[in-house]
């Protein structure tokens, strides 16, 4: 098998100075290019902690995270920021856009914030990506004036605009009605097929999880099951 896109090795994460709480107890996880995986587990199981560590927003207390073979524990904050900008895409819950900015400006953020000066190319790519999520006519709308489903499509466009190898989605369909949730899920699935972008989706929704090719379950900071689903075969 080819080298894993993401390798999590023995990751431990403790919180607290005086009373130490262990959120992750030595997690191992590999994700390969093109995988479409769900991460499930009850509240407080360590899903978000693991996602933050994989997303390079947090560092493990012990263990290593390798992204395309690069050991991220050796990188400083600046290098991590660059890696987040170029190699990773983030989809948070639907209200995690910048409300004062238009849809196209939100999609431009990862590139613009990283490079500094905007270019015509940058804007064109953002508009194309908005068109790909079906929101070409909403490009100049402030995101606070879009529906929840539309906002989440903008968020996916923002995550995809630099064609990262790995997209991390934290409850992307939470707080959405069934129809919007379906549309958002389909969109991610399509990008997964079209660009072989790897997705790791944290979800509470068993129906969503069932439609992912692989379901990883985490309970009390330990991975308790990791199986391929019929959808993935």
């Amino acid at each position: 098998m080819a080298e894993a896109l993401l390798s999590v090795r023995g990751v431990v994460r403790d919180y607290g100075e005086v009373v130490r709480t262990r959120a992750l107890h030595g997690v191992d996880l590999d994700l390969h290019r093109g995988e479409f995986a769900a991460l499930i587990g009850p509240s407080g199981s360590g899903k978000s902690t693991l996602l933050n560590i994989i997303g390079l927003l947090d560092r493990p207390t012990a263990g290593r995270v390798l992204l395309s073979g690069t050991d991220t524990s050796a990188l400083d904050e600046r290098a991590l920021t660059t890696l987040r900008a170029t190699a990773l895409g983030f989809v948070f819950q639907f209200h995690h856009l910048l409300p004062a900015f238009t849809a196209v400006e939100n999609v431009m953020l990862p590139e613009w914030g990283d490079i500094g000066m905007p270019t015509q190319e940058m804007r064109r790519r953002a508009e194309e990506m908005l068109a790909a999520v079906g929101l070409a006519d909403r490009a100049q709308y402030k995101t606070r004036n879009l529906s929840g489903g539309q906002q989440q499509r903008v968020a996916i466009a923002r995550a995809m605009v630099r064609h990262p190898a790995l997209v991390l989605a934290d409850e992307p369909t939470g707080n959405l009605d069934t129809e919007s949730a379906e549309g958002v899920f389909e969109l991610m699935h399509r990008f997964n097929r079209d660009y072989r972008t790897t997705f790791l989706i944290v979800t509470h929704d068993p129906r969503i999880a069932a439609r992912c090719g692989r379901v990883v379950e985490i309970v009390d900071g330990r991975i308790t099951s990791d199986r391929a689903t019929p959808a993935g075969r």
């Binding site: 997303g55 927003l57 660059t82 987040r84 983030f90 995690h96 910048l98 953020l109 905007p118």
Partner: protein
């Protein structure tokens, strides 16, 4: 537009209420500073101007005569000493044309005028009043003290038996332009002169005693043919007068007085006024800075999730820092433009409202470009400085924690 500028301006525009509040804080602060400075600078300038309206910046005169010992002291000789101060009489400066030329060449000096100044009496009918006789050369004198601007009757003419006198003196003697009066110097020399003009400089001592005549006429009144008792100087920077005076004193050994020495009380009053102005400015600046800083801190807290998102999707911490610094700087610049306009408006309004019936301002204000530029630079600096704490807070936010907050 660079990313940090774009985000900063968008945030300012989006949070219009907060922005208006911060702008108002800067504008009010700047307008207070501009108004206050304009008023105090104007007041000081007019005080200094009226002081210097009848006074040369620097005056050179003959040193006081010191008593000389009759017997030179030497070891082994006991001398019973009786010290008898010499009575001072009017004397001419030795070699005054050379001194005047040298003084005029001193760095910072723009004009030099030889004068003969002495006391005397003016007589008309039964009235007899003490006067100060000032013998001058028209051109050089007017370059130092421009009496032409102070004329209230007639014109400045000191040729051929003509004199110009102070208005109070004219009133005391009940005479006017074209009238004649008798002057007697302390040397006992008498002459009859014709009044060519009457002036008011606003300094009572001058208005009630000055009789300005020609240098030659004064020389004959005081029996100092070809002499000059003082040399009066004008300097480029009036506050440099002390240095110029020290310089000339060191080189000539003459008694050299600057207007600053003669008006030390006025100057210390002005200095006290200036330092109270500085105090007020300091506290205004401090409260403006605190206002901006606290509102920006609230804004950072409100926006922490957005900042977390920016950081997560790859915006470096330094760019987040820049976003909030730019907001502070922009507020400083914009606020100081508004505030300067308001301050100038208030100052001019105040000047007009407190003017005398004739329209002459009682409190002339002085608004100049250096004041406005200085205040704008100050406000911008304060805006930037006030933004430092909020900006650092924003840049140090932990993105993971910030995203999940709220």
């Amino acid at each position: 537009m660079p990313f940090a500028w774009f985000v900063a301006l968008r945030y300012l525009r989006d949070a219009s209420g907060q922005t208006a509040l911060m702008l108002a804080a800067v504008a009010v602060g700047v307008s207070v500073i501009v108004f206050l400075s304009a008023l105090i600078n104007g007041l000081q300038a007019s005080l200094i101007e009226s002081t210097l309206g009848s006074q040369p910046h620097v005056t050179l005169r003959v040193p006081r005569e010191e008593p000389r010992p009759l017997v030179a002291p030497r070891p082994g000789l006991a001398i019973a000493r009786l010290r008898q101060p010499a009575a001072q009489r009017l004397r001419s400066l030795d070699q005054w044309p050379a001194i005047a030329r040298a003084a005029a060449r001193t760095p910072g000096v723009t004009a030099a005028a030889p004068t003969v100044s002495g006391a005397g009496f003016a007589t008309r009918a039964d009235a007899r009043v003490p006067i100060v006789i000032r013998g001058v050369n028209t051109d050089s004198f007017l370059a130092i003290i421009d009496l032409r601007r102070s004329m209230v009757g007639g014109r400045f003419d000191v040729g051929s038996g003509h004199v110009v006198i102070g208005s109070t003196l004219a009133t005391d003697l009940a005479i006017g332009v074209g009238d004649r009066m008798r002057v007697t110097s302390t040397e006992g020399v008498e002459d009859v002169v014709t009044i060519a003009g009457v002036f008011t400089v606003g300094t009572e001592a001058v208005d009630q005693s000055w009789v300005v005549t020609s240098l030659r006429h004064a020389q004959s009144l005081f029996a100092l043919p070809g002499g000059a008792t003082t040399i009066e100087l004008k300097v480029r920077d009036v506050f440099d007068a002390d240095h110029v005076a020290d310089d000339i004193r060191g080189r000539t050994g003459l008694t050299v007085e600057s207007w600053m020495m003669l008006n030390a009380e006025l100057l210390s009053g002005l200095a006290a006024q200036s330092s109270s102005k500085t105090m007020i400015q300091f506290f205004v600046v401090l409260s403006v800075a605190l206002g901006i800083a606290s509102i920006l801190i609230v804004s950072v807290v409100q926006k922490s999730r957005e900042i977390g998102i920016l950081r997560a999707v790859g915006t470096p911490a330094r760019r987040v820092l820049a976003i909030f610094l730019i907001q502070g700087g922009v507020l400083g610049v914009a606020g100081s433009i508004i505030g300067s306009a308001l301050g100038v408006l208030f100052a001019k309004l105040f000047e007009v409202m407190t003017a005398e019936v004739s329209g002459t301002p009682r409190f002339p204000v002085q608004v100049d470009l250096p004041l406005l530029i200085g205040t704008a630079a100050l406000a911008t600096g304060v805006g930037l400085l006030a933004a430092v704490i909020p900006a650092r807070r924003a840049a140090r936010l932990d993105p993971a924690a910030a995203i999940h907050s709220g």
